[in-house]
């Protein structure tokens, strides 16, 4: 497998890293906003992709509010949103669909952002928090809470503790972020395997009713979210989003390799730790809401990368695409086998599975001599 992230050209790197003087023309395809000493380069394509994704996301969200066991016309959905119209429509939209839609937005954005961060750090598209075992840690802890292993925290809190624990153990045994965080990844896979075994053990030992109660925490669903966890995720995303954007420049330089990044003034070790921490934080908060829906961390950034220009790291686009995937997947899960709901984790896995295979196959083809 070759490096799977698309690599920008070297001259892009120089341009991005070079001090941009007052009279330097903006790179092609960019707008430059200047105000005194400060200036901002806005890439037209990134902006366009962002707006496109946002528009599709809003359209999908409208469909989400309209469709279900009780279908509404778009006009009906809008008036129900405002609290007008008949009681049932208002109840269905305001109490059932809207909170769930918000949870889908937030978890999708958080998973995908976390995925994009970690993929960029490891320079590998498969290196998402879910694949390297952080979701497994969260699952093991929340299942332990459901089956009642003498722990007092609620499953969402335990999911967060689990994600943090898995990440901390991994970080500890890998002794920090080495080159590309590879040790971290392999150690994570190993630790994840242990947590996976523990989850299987817990589930195999409890009776089927308890196993059922733990089931949402093993596949991921938006049906059983807790409002506290959603609030926590919203706050976390509001905090981590800007931090991630602030790291974007370092991230885009780190893609060129350690030497280049260091030469351009990136403090590699510190940046790596920061990126890892952000990624783990976002994953932990999202898992606390929806359980392990790790596939979104793979699909979201993938969509973003195929749309956005190869110049930057598509953080915003990833978050938007992740939210979109989550909304569409949950909508599908609600409609497909109604009145039985398919958990969103299953839908993303079934869609994401073939996608994953495709990535693996395509990459293999590209590498073969």
């Amino acid at each position: 497998m070759s490096d799977t992230l698309s690599m920008p050209h070297r001259d892009d790197a120089e341009r991005l890293g070079a001090p941009v003087g007052e009279r330097v023309a903006p790179p092609p395809g960019c707008w430059r906003l200047a105000r005194g000493e400060r200036h901002l380069l806005i890439e037209r394509r990134a902006l366009g992709v962002g707006l496109l994704l946002l528009a599709v996301l809003l359209a999908a969200s409208l469909a989400y509010l309209c469709l279900g066991q009780q279908s509404l016309s778009p006009a009906g959905a809008f008036s129900a949103l405002r609290g007008e119209g008949d009681a049932m429509a208002v109840f269905v939209v305001q109490e059932l669909r809207l909170p769930r839609l918000l949870a889908a937005w937030l978890t999708g954005a958080a998973f995908a952002l976390a995925g994009c961060l970690m993929q960029t750090l490891a320079r590998n598209r498969l290196a998402t928090p879910g694949i390297i075992g952080i979701d497994n840690g969260a699952t093991a802890f929340s299942v332990a809470s459901v089956v009642g292993l003498g722990v007092s925290l609620a499953p969402p809190a335990m999911a967060m503790v689990g994600a943090a624990t898995a990440a901390a153990i991994t970080f500890g045994v890998a002794s920090g972020g080495d080159t590309r965080g590879y040790r971290f990844i392999v150690a994570g896979i190993g630790i994840g395997a242990v947590f996976g075994a523990v989850t299987q053990l817990l589930l195999a030992r409890v009776d089927i009713d308890t196993a059922n109660a733990a089931y949402p925490w093993t596949v991921g669903t938006l049906n059983a979210r807790s409002s506290g966890a959603v609030t926590g995720l919203a706050l976390g995303l509001a905090l981590a989003g800007p931090l991630a954007i602030a790291l974007a420049r370092s991230l885009s330089l780190m893609r060129f390799g350690d030497a280049v990044a260091r030469g351009l003034g990136v403090e590699l070790r510190r940046r790596r730790v920061q990126v890892l921490a952000l990624s783990v934080l976002l994953t932990a908060l999202a898992v606390a809401v929806a359980g392990p829906v790790g596939m979104v961390a793979l699909i979201g950034p993938e969509i973003a990368r195929s749309l956005a220009s190869p110049r930057g790291v598509p953080l915003t686009a990833s978050a938007l695409a992740g939210a979109l995937v989550m909304v569409l997947a949950d909508l599908t899960g609600r409609l497909l086998l109604a009145p039985i709901e398919l958990p969103v984790g299953i839908v993303t896995a079934v869609v994401g599975g073939p996608w994953l295979l495709w990535i693996l196959l395509r990459t293999a083809k590209r590498t073969s001599p």
């Binding site: 497998m1 590998n124 498969l126 290196a127 879910g130 694949i131 390297i132 045994v173 890998a174 002794s175 590879y182 040790r183 990844i185 392999v186 150690a187 896979i189 190993g190 630790i191 994840g192 395997a193 242990v194 996976g196 075994a197 523990v198 299987q200 053990l201 589930l203 195999a204 030992r205 089927i208 196993a211 093993t218 596949v219 790790g294 596939m295 793979l298 398919l342 958990p343 984790g345 299953i346 896995a349 079934v350 994401g352 599975g353 994953l356 295979l357 693996l360 196959l361 293999a364 590498t367 073969s368 001599p369």
Partner: protein, 342 residues
């Protein structure tokens, strides 16, 4: 990289190697004895020993002869298969992390069996065939996807691809669980590898394919060692790298599929055993394979005896125990200053 690795092209099974193999075989006999003497039940070592000597009470004779003896034999077969499969996979991919469990080969076998259970299969022989087919698909899939040749210098990518592949199969298994919970209840117990309650019939059904795989292994050990020197060297010595790789895939599929069919997925044995073998005997695949023969069963039996004793009167699934042993070894491999290549 690996081309620089010094491989003794004309090794004689040295005196040291035979000493190590003998010592390990002795330990294996002890482990097998322990497996016959200790269990989760009330038949303790004294009664079991009496039963072995031919004069114990009826209960002890039953427990030792009908429960523990088949279980021990199955443990030996599973350990052998997984250890050798790991060594082969690592040699051909020149990657110390290439473990059947980590690469998704076991997951392929487990998924195939889950599908078969879901479709209503229950016959033991069918299960064996299905698991081996699943392992073959998993093996071919992972190998063709990651193009082993290019991975000599990047073991981590292979493992990542395997982890992603395993995650994919795990989610598909969840899908089965969702649609048919009655089968799910059986799968739920089956996806944790264990030697408990497995029948001797299952072992008998698997034995021919295990024997075939070991015979193939014997044939390709030499070309594999040559391949470790590089493609050109191997071709120059008259071997065909493509054919060797294909044979490795078949052997690994037969071994892992067979082991999974009897005992369920048991991770990390294929990592720990070749790791220990290389530590004892150096990187030459021919020596490693010799050591894997006693080491694999030794690890599985020791883990199984522990699994019976820690939570008696119940038992801990074997797969959990091997994961607990294996993860630190995995980390140790990665923590080595540079990832060693084979």
């Amino acid at each position: 990289m690996s081309k620089a690795t010094t491989v003794n092209t004309e090794p004689r099974p040295s005196a040291r190697l035979s000493r190590v193999v003998l010592t390990l075989s002795g330990l294996l006999v002890l482990a097998a004895l322990a497996s016959l003497l200790w269990g989760a039940g009330e038949v303790g070592p004294a009664r079991a020993l009496a039963a072995l000597a031919g004069h114990g009470d009826e209960e002890a004779r039953f427990v030792v002869g009908t429960l523990r003896l088949p279980r021990t034999l199955i443990g030996i077969a599973v350990g052998l298969a997984l250890g050798v499969a790991g060594a082969l996979l690592q040699a051909v991919s020149r990657n110390p992390l290439a473990e059947p469990g980590l690469l998704g080969v076991s997951a392929g076998a487990a998924f195939a069996v889950a599908v078969a259970l879901w479709l209503g299969a229950s016959a033991a022989t069918l299960r064996v065939a299905v698991a081996q087919l699943g392992a073959l698909v998993g093996c071919v899939g992972v190998m063709s996807v990651v193009r082993l040749r290019g991975l000599g210098d990047d073991p981590v990518r292979l493992v990542l691809a395997g982890a992603a592949f395993s995650a994919l199969l795990a989610s598909l298994t969840s899908l089965l669980l969702l649609f048919d919970q009655r089968t799910a209840d059986e799968i739920r117990f089956w996806v944790v590898g264990s030697l408990a309650g497995r029948r001797l019939d299952d072992l008998v059904a698997v034995l021919p394919s295990l024997a075939l795989a070991l015979a193939v292994t014997g044939l390709i050990a030499r070309p594999l060692a040559a391949l470790a020197l590089g493609e050109r060297v191997a071709s120059g010595l008259g071997h065909r790298p493509g054919r060797v790789r294909a044979l490795v895939v078949v052997a690994v599929a037969l071994l892992v599929g067979g082991a999974t069919a009897i005992a369920g997925p048991i991770a990390f044995v294929g990592l720990v055993v070749p790791f220990a073998a290389r530590a004892l005997a150096g990187p030459d695949i021919r020596r490693t394979l010799w050591l894997c023969l006693p080491l694999g069963p030794l690890m599985v039996l020791a883990a199984d005896v522990v699994s019976r004793l820690v939570v008696a009167p119940s038992e801990l699934p074997l797969g959990v125990l091997t994961a607990l042993v294996g993860a630190p070894v995995l980390v140790a491999v990665v923590r080595a200053r540079r990832l060693p290549t084979l």
